[in-house]
Symmetry: D2
Subunit: 137 residues, 4 copies
């Protein structure tokens, strides 16, 4: 069974636009918030120093399909699962639920990188410790 | 030849994150800025009242692939073209260029809607006037 | 004793900037989140329809003093109190705490308004029901 | 005569909220955009490495008074001047104009800092080169 993780998130006023609904870009922020909470649930952070090197997880791609709008003060469930685990990358699938109904679904593909200041990002294998914790969830 | 439109956009400080690069969600805001400038170039706005009704363009989907990072004060070219013109929807393709090199590409699918306050969004055919102006570009 | 209200808020990655700290504008979003949670705690919303009219609370002023930076994944306490209650306006004072230490303090002055679409905002007396609930907290 | 600098900025859709006006926090982003354009006009950046050290300009305080709302596609003039030049800090005053009418005014107090990764921010005297360029404007 693939590892799953869920957060609950209320739509804030600053996230609405003049059409009276949550601006579509916020769904990507909410995916990221779920992803980062998932890392914390493993005892890790997306921003860590390991063996003296900064590790980060920039995105290869991001996508979202919008089924119904989200509105101010709606409480959303953001359900995340690890859809694919590559050697250096993770594919994360998201479902947004409002009152038990799916209103959007999305995907992030993210790659483990060495992020030394002043040097280009360099993809590296996902550290074993993180990999095994994802498997055990 | 498909209609094309280009804007130039500098990466602002508030758009960077602690990894020192533009946060990935901003590419979606930049796509939208190009789309809205395109509508203005046609003499229209994405937010109009026509025959007493508010017209809007919510998104059906949004996606982006990231090839290279964008950094503070980088000047990006956001190139947009109308990839597909349906009866009620538009598919817009975007290419982000930095110094002549593509650093990201994206897509928005957007649907023409009647947006009356307090009523659900309802998809409607793209008004003829807008449709013909897109064709003539 | 003045009415007080506190929320807890974790600093998200998208809220950091390339200096590695939370971008200063986020403190204003966090003030607003606390204010809106306070309204909900009274059984109200900052965006309501009363007697067929939309009521809103635009800002007259906003300010913040920054004492120490907030960083990714910091858990902040946002403490709010109603500092002054005018006939049409509220002055809200905020203190941001990290591990029991104040890292910032701010203020919002907000005015109760009739917000009819297409008409200018018009300040109105704070509805009695809201006023008395604020007093009773 | 105090040094002045002006940028022009169109209100974007993502900057509006469900009240149909620009969210109040955006005025702080626009102040920052004017400030950073001012630094560029001096041949500098708010984020520089000098003598091997990263220099940054975190905020001591930020404030804004709101006179009239800004709306989608409004074109605003953001006028900035250096109100006070301390040994380590700058006080910047801003006026927001729409069609020649002031709709908001604001202030940022910002302090020149050494920003070494992993070390606390440390206030330092404004480098002479920047100081003299500000004077000569």
């Amino acid at each position: 069974m693939p590892p799953e993780y869920t957060i609950t998130r209320r739509v804030e006023f600053a996230e609405t636009d003049m059409a009276g609904i949550a601006h579509f870009t916020n769904f990507f922020r909410w995916m990221e918030e779920a992803e980062h909470a998932f890392f914390r649930s493993l005892g890790h952070s997306v921003s860590e120093t390991r063996c003296g090197e900064d590790i980060g997880w920039p995105r290869l791609s991001a996508s979202c399909e919008y089924l119904k709008p989200a509105r101010f003060e709606d409480v959303l469930e953001v359900r995340m699962r690890v859809q694919e685990k590559g050697r250096k990358s993770l594919t994360l699938a998201f479902s947004f639920q409002k009152n038990g109904e799916e209103i959007a679904r999305g995907q992030l593909v993210t790659v483990c990188c060495r992020c030394s200041p002043g040097r280009p990002l360099e993809a590296i294998p996902i550290p074993d410790e993180i990999r095994s914790k994802i498997d055990r969830r």
